[in-house]
Amino acid sequence: MSQPSRMPSRSRISWKSILLFLSILGPGIITANVGNDASGITTYSLAGARFGYGFLWLLVPLTIALIFIQEMAARMGAVTGRGLAQLIRETYGVRITLLIMAGLVITNIANTIAEFAGIAAATEIVGVSRFISVPLAALAVWLLVTKGNYNKVEKVFLVACTFYIVYYFAAFLAHPIWPEVAKAAVVPKITITAPYLLMFIALVGTTIAPWMQFYLQSSIVEKGIDMRKYRYSRWDVIIGSIITDITAFFIVVVCAATLFKAGIPVETASDVALSLAPIAGQYAAWLFAFGLFNAAMFAAVVLPLSTTYYVCEAFGWESGLNKKIRDAPFFYSFFTIMILIGAAFVLIPNIHLIQLMVISQAVNGVLLPLVLVAMLFLVNNRSLMGQHVNPAWLNLAAWAFIGIIIVASLLLGLVTLFPESAEYIATAIM
């Protein structure tokens, strides 16, 4: 092999390569799917309920961006054998690392709380008190990670991924007008208003969350994927991203075809599930609730896990699911604390999580471009990546994407502060 091929050879697809692909499969699909966590489902639901099919077009470019960015993280993991947090610490030093870590920990604690809130909401729809479901869920999550090894945990995760299919059924139960859906999916419709921009940024932020890149790279490293096996990982990433966004697509469709049509205002994912029953039938509501429960449980494992990975990497403590508790004490204690905080917050009576979520979204908005810029510099660093640096077109696409996020965030700030400026900007762009 004189030149390691960047693309899998198309000439022959043998059984052997299919088996190899199946064994490599995991990190990409899991990471992308966890992107559809409790807050992800909420965001997509609200997008459908408030804007109808108006945001469907965004999902296509967002999927492409997700594939590009995830591919970079996976490639860095395979080439360097190191996690993203590790590379950031070694290349940029303590200050930037601490800044990014602080941001990540804040958003991930907030998100973990949101996952447990999602578990509480989903089980309460079926009539189970959160004081039973949340502690049980926390215990299950903790046992899975502390008692399992990477292979076992990954299998459980992959099973969790398949349950997202309930949203496909829910979408059909909602009886949307399919030609209308198809048209909205390809024809962009942009308006410059504060709610639209806010939703735009929320959608980008939930689909391409900063922690996902850290988690993906760490799990590629822990799975021991190197450049030889990497071409299969690339397909893992591509398939994962596409499946995930198809799920997101159907969630938007469910809510657009029912709640938006009927003009029912909703605030949370459990509102959505409850409001679905009278319009689309009890089954649709249950499917939605089950989907929410699955997603929240899944993310309640992965989010604390990913946080623990990168905090340990940044400080150089031993980490990984295959390590013994004795060898990686920080890893396991940090994970435990994350779970405890997440579960405990939800059980405090009369607590309002909305403000926490707003702060988390804001931090996330600042963090995303920062992490992406750091990734782009790292992936183009020849002393790290050798010949596997980004091709020019990918850099161009990535910078364009980062530019769009920054512009959207700035626009949001402007429109929020000066609502009357929205019209001027709108006319200037059109």
Binding site: R82, E90, G93, V94, R95, W317, S319
Partner: protein, 430 residues
């Protein structure tokens, strides 16, 4: 010798590191990086970006500095000519010496050591290098240790931690082994292969810096021979703390390899019960010998003599004597062989020089030194020293009342003692 002097100074400084009061002796990389550099005409050359060391020896020296001005001008200067006088405000360099070629094997501290992963000998990740401590002596910088504590981390984000009561957590450079390879993990070498490179005297100093647990685990891995040399070199306090921690059987084995005067000192400072246990473990001959040593006055010849010497008979030929030396378990120090009759009465001394230059057929009686010099075990050490000085001896036999040889005093063992030399003798030497 200047080198020896440096080592002694460094040792003193190393002791100071623990002492936060005197922390001004230590310069941290975090404070050096970014310092402005001026030439002697006060022209600004740029800021320090990195420092290169020559990683040879226990305390590597800084050899080169990367100075960067604005964005692009980056220069490599030799450390020669750098003046630490005005640090930390600025660094002045007399006659900047640009280096077109860096010394071979030199290591950039900021790039290759700072923020890198420390792993133990089993490859388990421990922590990252948060800072690097240098010791300045005159205008030379010596790398002393790696800071792995919170204090180093806080300094890195720009906090001024001087005078904080927080403990600086340092790993002496002697324990550190940069791993070669594509990436730059640093190994904490607690492996014997590299420990062998450190002189036992330096090692004994380093042992003092360690916590009891670390010291024990380190000592456990040493060979008995190396351990015996460390016990010989360590000062009384460290020596006794080590002795109390070594299992008795091993201790007895180590004793047989040590300088006997030291063993006598150790035995004498142990509690009666423990001393008796050790003597029993030693076996009768050994025990009798040490009891003799202990019975001698602390300042007398009997305490400095060793019974590890080689005796020959008057009729042995030079060839036979050499063969006898080769066949014996050679003593740690060997200056001469002693000619005795069958009843061990001393006949004379043969220096190794005479042995080597004489015809191999000559009998021992022909090779003897002209003057037979000896001392009694009760002789004061000052007398022994004077006799050695007067007759240019490197060793001197000790005899009992019946003129039988019972031991030998080597100059090395006497040198460690504070000997009073009368002024008259001093004058004679010059």
């Amino acid at each position: 010798m200047a080198g020896k002097d440096h080592v002694r100074q460094i040792r003193r400084m190393l002791e100071d590191i623990e002492d936060t009061e005197k922390a001004s002796h230590v310069l941290y990389l975090s404070s050096i990086l970014g310092t402005r550099v001026f030439d002697e005409r006060a022209r600004h050359l740029g800021r320090i970006k990195d420092i290169a060391i020559d990683p040879v020896g226990g305390f590597p020296k800084a050899v080169a500095v990367i100075v960067k001005k604005w964005f692009l001008r980056r220069r490599t200067l030799s450390w020669e000519g750098f003046d630490l006088g005005e640090f930390p405000q600025r660094l002045v360099v007399h006659a900047p010496l640009p280096l077109s070629q860096l010394p071979r094997n030199c290591v950039f501290v900021g790039d290759k050591i700072l923020d890198q992963q420390l792993v133990d000998t089993n490859g388990i990740k421990i922590i990252r290098a948060n800072d690097v401590a240098f010791i300045p002596i005159h205008n030379t910088l010596f790398l002393a240790s790696i800071s792995i504590g919170l204090k180093g981390l806080l300094r890195r984000i720009g906090l001024n931690t001087d005078g904080w009561s927080m403990k600086e957590n340092l790993v002496p450079w002697a324990y550190v082994e940069p791993l070669e390879g594509k990436f730059r993990d640093i190994k904490l070498k607690i492996s014997e292969s590299r420990l062998g490179d450190i002189h036992p005297a330096d090692f004994a100093d380093l042992l003092e810096k360690l916590a009891r647990e670390q010291r024990l685990s380190l000592f456990r891995n040493l060979s008995n021979r190396y351990a015996s040399r460390i016990l010989d070199e360590a000062d009384a306090e460290v020596r006794m703390s080590l002795v109390s921690e070594i299992p008795q059987r091993r201790l007895v084995h180590i004793f047989t390899l040590m300088y006997e005067g030291n063993v006598a000192d150790i035995l004498l400072s142990l509690p009666e019960a423990k001393r008796r246990e050790l003597l029993v473990l030693m076996g009768p001959a050994e025990a009798r010998h040490f009891q003799l040593l202990m019975s001698c006055n602390k300042e007398s010849a009997g305490r400095f003599m060793t019974r590890k010497f080689i005796t020959v008979l008057p009729q042995d030929s030079a060839r036979e004597i050499i063969r006898k030396i080769q066949a014996s378990d050679p003593p740690r120090v060997l200056h001469a062989v002693y000619v005795v009759k069958h009843d061990l009465t001393l006949v004379g001394t043969i220096s190794l020089r005479n042995l080597l230059i004489s015809p191999s057929g000559d009998p021992a009686s022909k090779l003897l030194k002209k003057k037979l010099v000896y001392v009694r075990k009760s002789a004061h050490k000052n007398v022994v020293y004077s006799m050695m000085a007067k007759y240019d001896l490197t060793s001197i036999p000790v005899v009992d009342r019946k003129h039988r040889i019972i031991g030998v005093i080597n100059v090395e063992d006497l040198l460690k003692e504070r000997v009073y030399v009368p002024a008259k003798q001093d004058a004679e030497q010059v």
